[in-house]
Amino acid sequence: MVAVFGASLLFGLVAGPIGAALLDKEPFIPVPEVELAPPRLLSIGAFHVTNTLVSAWLTTVLVLLLFVGGTRKMKVIPGRLQSVLEMLVEALYGFISGVVGERFARPFFPILATIFIFIAFNAWMALIPVYQVLTLEVDGHATHVLRSAGTDINMPLALAIVAFVFIEVWGFKVHKIGYLKEFFRFKSPIEFFIGILELISHFIRLVSFTFRLFGNMLAGEIILLMITFLLIFTAPLAFYMLELLVGGVQALVFTGLTLVFALLAVAPHVGEHEEHDEKAAH
């Protein structure tokens, strides 16, 4: 075990850029290329199929298969897969009902659990080495077929819009038209100004949701590429563990923030205390 680890460490040192610099040669491993905009695989009219889109579809299909397969023949005494899925769903439900209480936990659960499972599975699946290896010849140069959807800004933006609409719709559903009183206050000039700030802060959430997820996923991808280049086989192990954690934490944070904002939207307007909490959240 130690011998294998030592040999891989030595190989990484020699084959990577460190060895190349010492031996005055070209690095054995090609320098990784980082692409920000996902390359197109296929164009149907104005609709471009990018590799991040393919990975989002793949995640959707695999999660669907996993859950349908795990719960198709449900038993009172669950099998292995069914009990794992039950544990996941129960943990998520416990988290949500712990924050918003039983009344809103049921209507909130489906969309929040979907967001969590999609982000987490998408991030975790991108750690399977297949993602970095599978390439396809498109327009004369090799293109990766799969890339984590979180590294394309469109996916976090789409999820942020979903979360935003979800929060505002629930605000209107509970307070009816009175929800607008939160933003347009005419009691005093200061109150008016606070209302406008509140309105802006709701839209700023779109930006902060998007960039939090996008930045974390993209930074993770770039770090993995660079560390693999720097010290292949051994060093990436630790960073893969880190990325496993980051994927779960980011999914939890996205879900948790949507949950907290939705709770603030449906909570009765009690005044200054809650507004202060919300401002502190940014």
């Binding site: 960039f211 930045g215 930074a219 934490v249």
Partner: protein, 74 residues
């Protein structure tokens, strides 16, 4: 010259991460103090700490995204 200025900008954008680092340290300090004083409150402290860590980290991530965009796009 312009290339050099670009990378100077990247470095300055990365400098923003220092603030996030300080913030994370303060948060960790607070959470550890709270855990030390009241270990039974772990269930209440840890999720809130992670949420707060994520908020703080997001500020650093903005700087990181700016730096990455500068390197690869500008």
């Amino acid at each position: 010259m312009e290339e050099g200025l670009k990378f100077l900008g990247v470095g300055l954008a990365g400098l923003g991460l220092a603030g996030a680092g300080v913030g994370l340290g303060i948060l960790g300090n607070g959470a550890m103090n709270a855990l030390g004083r009241n270990p039974e409150a772990k269930d209440a402290i840890v999720p809130n700490m992670i949420l707060a860590l994520a908020f703080t980290e997001a500020i650093g991530i903005y700087g990181l995204v700016t730096a990455i965009l500068l390197i690869f796009v500008a």
